[in-house]
C-alpha cells in the first residue's frame, strides 16, 4: 500500500508511535518534536536513542513509550549503531524500514560527532535526528557545543569574572553539510507544516539524512512550560535559529522572517540569559546579523543591527610571516 505523502499537519497520522505516559517535564520541547517525527515516520521504523533525556523519559526497562523496536547501547555511538541496524536489516533482506537515531545535542555536537561523521561519510541509509536543547539536560544542564553565547549552564556559570558561556554555538549543520549528504534540514516545532514536510522528505530520501530540531527545555532554559512553542517561534524570528534544508546539494531557506526581531525579546523569556549585560547582548546580536548576511546575502535593516556596513575584504594571505 502506497502511503500518503505528508505535506501539512492535516496529513499526519492519528495513530501515535510515541505513546502517552512518558515522563518528560511538562512543556518539554523534545517530546513535542519526537512525537510529531514519529507521526510522520509511521509504523515501519526502528529507533536508537543514546543516553539523554529522551531515553530516560521514554524507555526504562522493562517499559517503553515507543511503539517501535527500541535499541540502546552507549552515548557516543548513534551514527555507528544505526548504520549497524540498517546493515543487519539489509543482510536479512528487509526493506522499507526507516532506521532512525535520535540523539541530544551533547550526543551529536560533541560526544557522538565521530560516529555521526562516519555514517554521513559512508552515506549509510539512515536518518539521524539531533534534538537540540542546547545543553546536556539529562545530567543537570551542562554546557555543550550547541549552547549559545551568554547562556548560563552549570559548567558555564555566572560569576564576577565570567558571565555564562563565552563561545558561540557550533555550526554543526555546516559540518554535516560538508559531508555532502543527500538531505539535511533544520526544524522548528513552531512551524508545523514546514516541520512535517521536512520529516517526510527525510523519510523518503535514500542515503544519509540529517534533521536538526531546536527543542526548548523548561528547566534548562529556565522558561515557563506554556511558552515552549512561543520561544521556539521567537528563535526563528530573531535569527537565533534559521529554517533551511539542503536537498541533494540544493540549499533552500524555507522560512524568512519578515523582519529581524531584536534578540533581546528572545532572551527575555529565558532565565538562562537573565544576567546578560548590554555588551553581551550586542555581541550576540552582531553574531546573528553576520549570520543573516551570510544566509540571505543582504544587510539587516538598522534595528536591531547597528553594525556599520562593512564590506567584507578579501584577504588572500593573512600569514604574518608574509606581511600584509
Amino acid at each position: 500500500m502506497q502511503e500518503k505523502e505528508i505535506r501539512t499537519i492535516k496529513d499526519l497520522s492519528r495513530e501515535e508511535f510515541l505513546t502517552k505516559g512518558h515522563g518528560a517535564c511538562p512543556g518539554c520541547g523534545v517530546a513535542v518534536a519526537v512525537k510529531n517525527i514519529a507521526r510522520v515516520l509511521g509504523k515501519n521504523t526502528i529507533i536508537y536513542v543514546p543516553a539523554s533525556c529522551l531515553i530516560v523519559f521514554t524507555a526504562l526497562y522493562p517499559s517503553s513509550a515507543f511503539k517501535w523496536p527500541f535499541l540502546y547501547t552507549a552515548f557516543e555511538n548513534t551514527g555507528a549503531v544505526i548504520s549497524g541496524i540498517k546493515a543487519a536489516l539489509e543482510r536479512r533482506g528487509k526493506q522499507g524500514v526507516t532506521v532512525v537515531g535520535m540523539a541530544g545535542d551533547g550526543g551529536t555536537f560533541d560526544i557522538g560527532l565521530q560516529a555521526l561523521s562516519g555514517a554521513a561519510e559512508r552515506n549509510d541509509d539512515v536518518l539521524y535526528v539531533c534534538l537540540d536543547n542546547e545543553a546536556y539536560m539529562n545530567t543537570g544542564i551542562q554546557r555543550s557545543g550547541a549552547t549559545p553565547f551568554g547562556a548560563w549552564t552549570t559548567t558555564s556559570p555566572v560569576g564576577k569574572k565570567i558571565q555564562g558561556k563565552r563561545e558561540f554555538k557550533k555550526d554543526l549543520d555546516a559540518i554535516v553539510a560538508a559531508h555532502g549528504v543527500p538531505y539535511m534540514a533544520t526544524l522548528s516545532i513552531a512551524h508545523p507544516n514546514d516541520f512535517v514536510r521536512k520529516v517526510q522528505k527525510a523519510k523518503i530520501t535514500n542515503g544519509f539524512r540529517f534533521l536538526h530540531v531546536l527543542c526548548p527545555c523548561v528547566p534548562g532554559w529556565r522558561s515557563e512550560a506554556s511558552k515552549t512553542v512561543a520561544i521556539a517561534r521567537l528563535a526563528v524570528e530573531t535569527g537565533m535559529w534559521t529554517l533551511y534544508e539542503i536537498d541533494h546539494g540544493v540549499e533552500k531557506l524555507t522560512y524568512k522572517p519578515r523582519e529581524l526581531v531584536p534578540v533581546k525579546e528572545y532572551l527575555q523569556l529565558q532565565g538562562r540569559f537573565r544576567h546578560m549585560g548590554e555588551d553581551d547582548i550586542e555581541k550576540l546580536q552582531n553574531w546573528i546579523c553576520e549570520k543573516w548576511r551570510n544566509q540571505f546575502y543582504e544587510e539587516v535593516p538598522v534595528p536591531p543591527c547597528k553594525l556599520e556596513k562593512v564590506k567584507k575584504e578579501l584577504i588572500l594571505d593573512e600569514d604574518p610571516l608574509h606581511g600584509p
Partner: protein, 301 residues
C-alpha cells in the same frame, strides 16, 4: 536510628529538604545521611528523598521503606501515591495542607502536624517552594532536632547556594511554619494499595533484552507499555476546551508534548485528562482562545 522519607514533586525541593535536615542533625552531633530516589521522572513528577539520623555511624544504604517520620510536601500526592506505605504506627507525619490533622487520611493513624507551607512560602520567599517551611513544621513534630539547628542548616545550605538574603528569607519561612503548625492525629480510613512493578529475574530476561509487547500479571512491558503511567496526576491546572470556538487548525494537537489531545475524525479535539500535565502550551498556541487554563485538577466532557 530515625528514618525519614520525603514525598514531593520534582522542583519543590524535597532533596534539599532532606539534605538540610541531615545537616541540622550533624550540627546536633548526630551522624546523618540524605539522598534522593533517582527515577526517570522530571519536574512535576512525584519524587522521594530520604534521610537517616543516628548516634552511631550509619551503614545502611537502601531506600527508606519503613519511615519513622513521613514528610509530604504536596497534598495532592496523598491521592496518587501510597505515601503512608510502611509508616510505623509509632511514627509521625508532617503534611503541607490547609487542613487540620484530623482531616488527613494517611492510611495509618499517627501523630501528625499540618501546615500551610505553600501559603507561608508565598508570603515569605514569594515563590511556592515549600521545602524550608516544611522543615520548620518538621522541627515541631520531630523533637529530636531543634528549630535552632534547622534554621542554622537552612542558613548554611541556602545561603551558600543562593546568597545570604535568600538564607534569611528561607529561615524566616521555617520559623513561621514552626509557629503555625497544628498538631493532632491523622486518620487511617484508606486502604494502602501496593504499587505493582515487574522486575525480571535473570532467567526471565530475554536474549539481548529485547522485550515483545507483553503483559505480566496485568503489568504492561515492552513497546508502548508506558501508557500505564498516568501522568495527568502531575498537573496543577487543566485546559478547558470550547468546541464552538475551535477552527480545527490542529495547532494544540501538534504542540501538546503528551499526546493527550486526541484528534477526532472531524478534526475537532478531545482531551485525555489521564495524561495531561497541565503545561498550558495548548492554550498558548490556540489562535482563537478556544482553550483556557483553569487552576486545579479537573475533567470535562
Amino acid at each position: 536510628m530515625y528514618e525519614i522519607r520525603f514525598h514531593g514533586r520534582g522542583g519543590q525541593g524535597a532533596v534539599m529538604a532532606a539534605q538540610a535536615l541531615a545537616e541540622a542533625a550533624v550540627l546536633e552531633g548526630y551522624f546523618a545521611q540524605a539522598f534522593p530516589y533517582f527515577g526517570a521522572e522530571r519536574r512535576g513528577a512525584p519524587v522521594r528523598a530520604f534521610a537517616r539520623i543516628d548516634k552511631e555511624k550509619i551503614r545502611v544504604k537502601s531506600q527508606v521503606y519503613e519511615p519513622d517520620i513521613l514528610v509530604v510536601l504536596d497534598e495532592s500526592l496523598l491521592e496518587i501515591d501510597p505515601v503512608g506505605e510502611g509508616l510505623k504506627p509509632s511514627g509521625k507525619a508532617v503534611i503541607n495542607t490547609t487542613k487540620m490533622p484530623e482531616e488527613i487520611d494517611l492510611g495509618v493513624e499517627v501523630e501528625c502536624g499540618t501546615v500551610d507551607a505553600t501559603g507561608i512560602a508565598l508570603e515569605s520567599i514569594k515563590a511556592p517552594i515549600v521545602n524550608t517551611a516544611i522543615l520548620g513544621a518538621l522541627a515541631r513534630v520531630f523533637d529530636v532536632i531543634s528549630l535552632e539547628s534547622i534554621l542554622n542548616a537552612i542558613m548554611n545550605r541556602f545561603g551558600e547556594k543562593l546568597g545570604h538574603q535568600s538564607g534569611v528569607m528561607n529561615a524566616e519561612a521555617a520559623r513561621i511554619a514552626y509557629l503555625r503548625t497544628k498538631i493532632g492525629r491523622c486518620s487511617a480510613r484508606r486502604q494502602l494499595a501496593k504499587t505493582k512493578v515487574w522486575l525480571p529475574a535473570w532467567y526471565e530476561i530475554p536474549p539481548g533484552n529485547a522485550l515483545p509487547q507483553h503483559a505480566i500479571e496485568g503489568v504492561l512491558i515492552g513497546p508502548g507499555s508506558m501508557v500505564q503511567n498516568y501522568t495527568g496526576t502531575w498537573r496543577t491546572q487543566t485546559p478547558h476546551y470550547t468546541k464552538d470556538k475551535c477552527i480545527r487548525c490542529l495547532r494544540c494537537w501538534f504542540s501538546c508534548p503528551e499526546g493527550c489531545i486526541e484528534r477526532m475524525e472531524d478534526d475537532y479535539e478531545r482531551w485525555d485528562y489521564r495524561y495531561c500535565k497541565g503545561c498550558g502550551i495548548c492554550a498558548q498556541v490556540c489562535p482563537v482562545n478556544a482553550i483556557e487554563m483553569i487552576r486545579g485538577v479537573h475533567e470535562w466532557q
